[in-house]
Symmetry: none
Subunit: 214 residues, 4 copies
DNA sequence: AATGAATGAGCTTTCATTCAT
DNA sequence: TATGAATGAAAGCTCATTCAT
């Protein structure tokens, strides 16, 4: 602000400084919004609440997001990316079965130790009626499944048909998603004991044992 | 009941006429609301939409329900009662393990053939932030668990500790709830194949086999 | 209701029985309404509240009163008649000055020991903006003033001009009405002491002493 | 204040610009509301009417007032402050008795020449049933009485006991409040003549003459 | 970049009133 | 005479969004 200050030349550094700040401000909004959405849901949280939580005026939020739906979409995308990248990582490990079993506990633990199931529930509800959001969820899911399926079959060690694998992946996926719902249903959810069981189960499901008979 | 009785001449039929009509009108609202909630969510559905769907003026709905939340609560209660009675029935059968395995397919099929996962997702989301609704869900869940646990242990054929059972019930419960989320995530959900896998899994989980080793 | 009951012939007695009942039911509504109006005001009290208090269905009230305003009007009329007849009585006594002074305490006491100033306040507020109600109040007031003025001047003992009397009646009237407002303003209103002062004042005002000098 | 200061360049004028405008807009609402309340009463005036009168959207009024009650409260407070400060001023004058008598006419004239008794009546009615509003009225009244009482007794010229003074203040207070009710009751209220009588009366009441005998 | 004043549509809810029974 | 189901208009209030500064 003073006259004798040397203005730094415009360079890549300068620009990224601005961009960094922009990105940070944007993230500020997302973090604030996530908190509000957890507490009051996508529709229950008002722009006023979000702006207060973000330490930013209501109007200024519209410099970063076109409208409230865009914030919701960004939050959902953030969350979906986070979880799907986690699963994709598992899919990329050399021995996918071992990796899945090994990482199962960690994944479950992360689910159980997260910020609670509120946001996931909110996302599922939104996806169930909003086709756009549903598409985001479905695309992410498809990617994960593709990776896992391919890896398993390229490894040549799959002791079951592709159709069987598909069904088993559904079952495991259901278990992961369902654990969050159980957190809502049971306030005394026994984390540790469940982790043990989940590991046991995944091993069984992927081992290909076929003792089933109708 | 005697012939010379003077007082209320209302036979069961007569009295029921009004009461029946009242109950029917009330149910009309619930059905309409359920439809609206599925389409637009609890907060997205307006009283105007519900009243239109119920073929009733907005104001008149308030003769049957104190406010919109009361409708939401009634819908949730209806749904929770429905599912919890279904599971309680399984818990009451003599050979609970056989019953659970036998009925698993049927239950899953009913889940998958239902009116879609929208309402469940909506309920989970609401329960995740609304303590009153959460309590309803948790109480129902506790009842079901109590019944199943007691039955299994009274039968004296439980090949695992109570703690283990608890964890396994969580896992199975997660699977049931999770299947609805899978319906959202995967538009090509392979119903039949999954039913086979689910039956296999429940049998395994309840059989008490303990091949797991960390 | 029984067949062998002898129906009394239609006579004046029979008719008045019906009429009595009708009047009683009507009064039931008025009493209930007065209670509600005291508690919630004319606009704050709902027909539902009144009907509940009157032990009568909402719809049936409309057999006795054309609409809610008619109830309000009836209540106001009842109250105004009550007070104006009280004052008119004073006006009809032979020695009006003595009577006014003598009865002052009684009147004030009745005001102070009544069911509280709520209804009066409500009536003044309504009269202040509703011309119809205002007219009721003004007509009653005029009657009372006419009686008092005539009596005093016919007695030939008035130690002041008609204009002076008019003003003094205003002052006394203001005091009476104002006492009710004081009951609202001062929760520790000193009844007995005020009664003494009021008597003293009325005597002074009507005595015609004219010590005033501007 | 120093020249090389960097921080808030906002001078008093600049800051005031916004704040002034805010205060002005707020007052705009109050003025509009007062008008509406006079015409239709606190409950009869709708937010839509007020917003129209204020030249402001309905929603925007809620930036200045939490709800309609807050507007009512602010109006009442304004009015109460206005009158109580007027009376407190009288209480602060050196010769309170002379001041009260001297200012009586002015005060009465102001009452009689005001915007009519509607608002006062409305306030009394509201206070009679709304405890919060009643408290405001009562607190203001207590303050005024405290000031007047103290002043009179500190002057050492009180020709009556404290209890007597209290009662006489009630009587004078009743007269002031009652005059507004008389304006409602009598469309031909004789202002000038009444002012003369009121002056005479106050002088008598405060003079301590005790010609009264029961 | 940042504010917050301002809007208008839409929400839930209430309520006086009517009418079939 | 008596009920209460039913309506429709209007109320208070909220909120996403825009815009001048």
């Amino acid at each position: 602000m003073t006259e004798n200050q040397v203005l730094p030349k415009l360079g890549p550094g300068q620009k990224s400084l601005r961009e960094d700040r922009t990105a940070a401000r944007r993230q500020q909004v997302l973090d604030a919004a996530q908190g509000c959405f957890r507490q009051h849901g996508f529709h229950g949280a008002s722009m006023a609440q979000i702006s207060a939580a973000a330490g930013m005026s209501v109007g200024h939020i519209y410099h970063y997001f076109e409208n409230k739906d865009a914030i919701v979409a960004a939050i959902i995308d953030e969350d979906v990316q986070h979880f799907s990248s986690e699963f994709a990582e598992i899919g990329r490990s050399p021995d996918i079965m071992a990796a899945m079993i090994d990482h199962a506990g960690a994944v479950v633990r992360r689910i159980l130790d997260g910020k609670g199931p509120t946001l996931s529930a909110e996302i599922f509800a939104e996806a169930a009626r909003n086709p756009t959001v549903r598409r985001v969820l479905q695309d992410a899911d498809k990617k994960v499944h593709d990776i896992v399926r391919e890896t398993i079959f390229k490894s040549g060690r799959a002791p079951f048909t592709e159709e069987q694998l598909e069904a088993r992946m559904e079952v495991i996926g259901a278990m992961f998603d369902g654990l969050e719902m159980r957190l809502i249903r049971n306030p005394d959810f026994p984390r540790e004991a469940v982790i043990v069981e989940v590991r046991r189960l995944i091993r069984y499901v992927l081992s290909g044992e076929d003792t089933a008979a109708d």
